[in-house]
Symmetry: C2
Subunit: 320 residues, 2 copies
């Protein structure tokens, strides 16, 4: 089958990748649409030693399911983490933190920039017909955006700062805005600002945030400068949630963290059904974030486009 292939930090299109075989309890999924994420770009810079097919934001149709033939034809999105099911974390219900986990297109399992992929049936969530592919494909990053609210309640009137208005930041902004908090978003590019304004969300420049002024600061820029800005902006006793990974170690004044009693909160993947519910209810429309669509045969160009400064969501049509 055709697929994007990552090896030694190089990506190329291959047409000789074997179609994957579903294991016990798994399904073969015909991928329809896949989204490009910052993690895909980080993989091409060697963030993790993954070799294979990247891509973990997807909409597809179950093409084969030996253990559940009734589900063939179901249109689905996929939970990307596969816990081992037997370790302590899995048994405690924390499969996304299983030490031996596979992660679709990131660790141990080929991903979505391909004609087909496999996932456990339990990871596949059915879509209602009314949810178009180009909306449903946002469910995985939207779940990650929502994760902050699952970890730390966000209340009306709380002062909240979001640093970064890129492809993940835009989704975080929309999930935070729904809470009724007093949200300001540090946005750098004109297009990011326009999208926020169109969604009724206040944007500000990098020089504007008050020092120690926000109850909650969410860092979604992935840059050390963004982290430094976020750290300065959080009030004593406040929370600094980290949504992004960073290319290198960051030096931190832990004593100031203690004296100010700041909570630093690592935040990664979230609950897919929560994200789907928001999309089903129409509480937010991610489609204005789509910058371009490429056919699978042009997937390398899709990743190159996604890497441009200010680029938002790039989609890959895996059926064309």
């Amino acid at each position: 089958m055709q697929a994007l292939w990552l090896e030694n930090r190089q990506i190329r299109l291959r047409s000789d990748v074997p179609k994957p075989l579903p294991g016990p309890g798994e399904a073969l999924v015909r991928v329809r649409l896949a989204g490009v994420c910052a993690t895909d770009l980080a993989l091409t810079r060697g963030y993790l030693p993954f070799r294979g097919v990247p891509g973990h934001e997807l909409v597809g149709v179950i093409a084969a399911a030996p253990d559940a033939p009734g589900r063939v034809g179901e249109r689905v999105v996929g939970e990307i983490n596969l816990g081992c099911g037997v370790c302590f974390a899995c048994r405690a219900g924390r499969r996304r933190h299983c030490e031996r986990r596979e992660a679709l297109g990131i660790r141990g399992r080929d991903g979505a920039f391909a004609e087909y992929l496999t996932l456990p049936l339990a990871n596949l969530h059915a879509l209602i017909d009314a949810l178009p592919d180009e909306v449903a494909v946002f469910s995985e990053p939207l779940a990650a955006a929502l994760r902050v609210r699952a970890q730390r309640p966000v209340l009306p009137r709380e002062r909240v700062l979001l640093v970064g208005a890129g492809r993940l930041g835009q989704l975080v902004a929309r999930t935070l805005a729904l809470t009724g908090c007093r949200l300001e978003v540090v946005a750098r590019h004109a297009r990011q600002r326009e999208l926020l304004a169109a969604a009724g969300i206040a944007w500000i420049g990098e020089e504007d945030p008050g020092e120690q002024a926000y109850d909650l600061v969410v860092e979604a820029s992935g840059s050390p400068a963004g982290f430094a800005l976020a750290r300065r902006a959080v009030r004593p006793g406040g929370t600094l949630a980290l949504k992004s990974t960073y290319p290198e170690e960051v030096s931190l004044d832990l004593s100031a963290l203690v004296v100010d009693e700041v909570t630093l909160l690592g935040s990664r993947c979230g609950d897919l059904e929560s994200a789907l519910e928001l999309l089903r209810l129409g509480r937010l429309d991610p489609r204005p974030l789509i910058d371009a669509r490429y056919p699978l045969s042009e997937a390398p160009a899709a990743l190159a486009h996604a890497a441009r400064p200010g680029a938002l969501k790039i989609l890959v049509d895996c059926e064309s």
Copy 2:
């Protein structure tokens, strides 16, 4: 009056320090007993640019209170933070995080290694007769130890690791043990281990903690090596509470914090009345932690003793 004086990182005993005058709403307190804390030692190494009388753990008697003469003679302990009362943090009920706060013997106000000090009446908590001075003097550090439980619930059966069994660590260990959690304490010195064992608390060596094994890890060693050990020990999704300040910036892999969804929790001062309640109820007895008592005239020797490796609580009798 006689007092210990800190200036340019040097301490010396002075007998010419003017007796302080209580301001509006304040009381003059005759200090009876004061405890030496790691922060006092850090001040002598230039941790903060404080010049004056150090010391912030105290028991005293109200000697004068122009606005509340009925309180003269009351035996008290003192909340050490003085908020401005008008800033945003103070009005939001977070006086301990007032940007302009004074802190007794640490910032802007002379402290407890003296014959007299002043504090607002509102900061002075009356003691019951049954609580001896040498127990009550632990109320301030015990409040700091209890702070972790106020910030993050600690449940029975949770696996908890405490790194550091010094003067603060011993108190943290006792407050954690009361919760019914499965507590292990990394203790380095024989005397620290004996005290823990006598309190029925399990101690382990630095090589013993499991990796990613604990729901909650409390770092109270104040050393970068202790922080590194604590970081390795916390499980994905767990909490790493920081009770100590550090002499320098610490480099941190923020990406791993995000991927593991670890919560880093800065933790400083706590609620004095909670600590007093524990002491009144006799739920813990801090007296075994007392290593020595010195008269005020030998306060420099008291601080030198407290700086020895493994030294626990050193008290200064300010009436003798």
